[in-house]
Amino acid sequence: MNWKLIAISLSCASLLFLSACGSDTATNTKTDTAAATATNTESPAASESPAVTVAPATEAEWQPVLDEYRAFTIKEADSLVIETEKFVKAVKAGDIRAAKQLYAPSRMYFERIEPIAEALGDFDPHIDARENDVDEKEWRGFHRIEKILWEENTTKGAEGYADTLLEDIKLLRALMETVEIEPSLLVTGAVELLNEVSSSKVTGEEERYSHTDLYDFVANVEGAEKIYELLKPQLNKHDAELEALIGTSFKNLDDALADYKAGDGYKSYLDLKEEDTKKLSQLLDALAEPLSQMGKILGA
């Protein structure tokens, strides 16, 4: 913590220095890499918010939050196992209609807890790789089956992949007992979930055969929203304005997504017009930007 004190006192010193000179605009200190750590390279005029005065939460304060997130992810993983079992059963029974219906909803349980799966190693590529993400001979998981169901319009050839998928998911569920959840995982996980949407779902690249991208979209956002709900009290203490802004931004996006509901599920990506995806993408950016500031609760 020593360096922090030093930094603060130094920046105070240079603030005083600058104001004593009656100007804070004409010093081009940015080009100075050698002295960057020893001078205030930030324009006082550009300061946004006062320095955080609330101390970061203690380990004891974090524990209930982390426990609750663990409970949430395990509940989701339990549902993932149950729903994937149904999906696998339909595939193996050759019931293509049922398989297609069960595909997108069962995936949502995975999409809500994706940061955990990623933290556990190879699970994401095994379960969720898209074509060309991995070597053809290693490609398995949801999207491999998706291709057979929608491209070839059959369940034939998908049975083996269905079995492997269920094994992978059961293993994921088992290992989730062991995963260590750190506060930083929550903070970065929420942003990662939205980045997932931004980079593949909003462009329709995730579900390139079934076009069920909106299911994943919604699930990722719900996963991020869960984390925000858990961090809300702490966030409120540190920066109530930021907390409120994130809340409004979630609501704006949720409201927009509600327009694309169709029955129990969501419209096909093919039914979205360019202005729809642009609007969703911009609402997502409007949310992800303040959400990325949640790290404030971790201190500096």
């Binding site: 000179c21 081009n28 050698a34 324009s43 409007a286 500031q293 790290g295």
Partner: protein, 442 residues
């Protein structure tokens, strides 16, 4: 000073000398580095030595530039604050990144917050300082995106304006809309594409470095998230100051000089008459501001390239090489559109761009255009390149519109160009420290 020694006495001497001289006269940081020999042979001074000198120099520089504030202390830094916004009367920098934004903000309060945050960020970026206070917290995304760190501000100017749609009633400002701020009427030959038109807000970033300009637009866009979204952007360029050390009138992509007929930006009377809106013009909040017109004009490059030089010169009404009016020798020779040849025909063709744009010489606008290149048109395989026409005038309905109406009907140049984008913005008056852009309106 070209010291190549690393001995301590010499360092102290340098340090002292640097301190002394900056107190005497203003000096850019770069000059200071040069003086101290840092950067070239000065590398011989150990890293610690440089740091020490830099620290001392920094303090001295702060004193020096403070003393010289407002006097253009450093050649690379243009003041952000002032009576007028920078980027209008400012001599054109090498590059432009123009961005039109649409507001998504729910209330006028949000708009005000956005303009205040933009003001702080713009003031920082034009002066070469980092945006925000969270640039060293490992748990947060840095406040400044960082690609301009360590770079000279490169004469960055950031100029803000609002379009007609800003006054459409969402923010209760319809009563404050200037009567001359209307989307332009349809001109003959326009082929406007919606993706290059309009915008609630227009932001012109100009700089002598494209990365620095990009940094500005990128950070303004980031700051706007949740309040405004990008509608369209276009990048433009001119010959750089490095390629044309004389700073002659720039040439457009047709090879002709463009901007010869501009009012003299250093002549306050001409600027008041043609460029700056006045309180007497009926819109008090625009006093000291200016109305901007942006047109994306695609050039039919391939067609132009197969026209003879004589045709090309007749089209512009100027000689290509010298930029002189046809029949004259020098670029700035007096234009006489009434001069006839031995057959009684005007020497400068009446339908040439020069003759039409000039008219009787009473209409003047301040052109601040850049060339653009936007890859190729996939439908034809031809270049999508042309002119990002930008001009400032005091009253668009009395200056640009009559001029363009005439040009669109008769200009010989129309054979070779097509207008594909259009937008107008009322650019605010300048702002002083502590204030924010648009404060006279909001």
């Amino acid at each position: 000073m070209s010291s190549t020694t690393n001995n301590d006495d010499k360092q102290k001497h340098n340090q002292k000398q640097a301190g002394d001289s900056v107190l005497e006269k203003s000096m850019s940081r770069r000059d200071l580095l040069r003086l101290m020999g840092v950067g070239g042979a000065g590398l011989l001074i150990g890293a610690t030595g440089v740091g020490g000198i830099m620290q001392a120099a920094n303090k001295s520089l702060a004193v020096a530039t403070t003393a010289a504030t407002g006097a253009g202390a450093s050649g690379d830094v243009l003041p952000f604050y002032g009576v007028h916004q920078a980027g209008i009367a400012t001599p054109s920098q090498d590059f432009i990144l123009f961005a039109a934004f649409d507001l998504t903000a729910a209330s006028i309060n949000d708009v005000r917050t956005l303009f205040q945050a933009w003001t702080a960020a713009s003031a920082a970026m034009t002066q070469g300082t980092m945006i925000g206070t969270d640039n060293n917290n490992l748990n947060l995304p840095p406040s400044d995106t960082g690609e301009a760190a360590g770079l000279s501000p490169s004469k960055t100017t950031i100029t803000f304006g609002v379009g007609p749609s800003f006054f459409d009633g969402r923010f209760g400002l319809s009563g404050k809309k200037p009567s001359s701020l209307e989307e332009l009427p349809a001109f003959g030959g326009d082929e406007l594409q919606p993706e290059w038109c309009g915008g609630d807000i227009g932001v012109q970033v100009c700089a002598n470095d494209m990365q620095v300009a990009f940094h500005a637009i990128r950070n303004l866009t980031r700051i706007a998230r949740g309040k405004a979204v990008l509608r369209w952007t276009t990048e433009g360029f001119q010959r750089t100051s490095g390629a044309d050390k004389q700073g002659a009138t720039p040439r457009n992509l047709m090879g002709f000089k463009d901007g010869t007929a501009n009012p003299d930006t250093s002549d306050e009377t001409q600027m008041k008459q043609n460029v700056w809106a006045s309180a007497d013009d009926g819109v008090p909040w625009m006093a000291g501001g200016s109305y901007m017109v942006v047109r994306r004009i695609r050039m039919r490059v391939e067609v132009w390239d197969r026209s003879t030089l004589s045709d090309q010169e007749a089209t512009f009404g100027r000689h290509r090489e010298s930029g002189a009016p046809i029949g004259s020798l020098k670029e700035f020779d007096t234009v006489d559109v009434n001069k006839k040849d031995e057959n009684g025909k005007p020497i400068i063709p009446a339908n040439s761009h020069l003759a039409l744009a000039r008219g009787d010489g009473s209409l003047k606008i301040l052109r601040r255009s850049y060339s653009y290149s936007s890859g190729l048109d996939n439908r034809t395989g031809q270049l999508d390149a042309g002119l990002l026409f930008i001009c400032y005038n005091r009253d668009t309905s009395k200056q640009f519109i009559p001029m363009q109406t005439k040009l669109s009907r008769m200009d010989k140049l129309n054979e070779y160009i097509v207008h594909t984008g259009s937008a107008v913005f009322a650019c605010f008056p300048g702002v002083s420290e502590g204030g924010y852009i648009g404060e006279t309106l909001l």
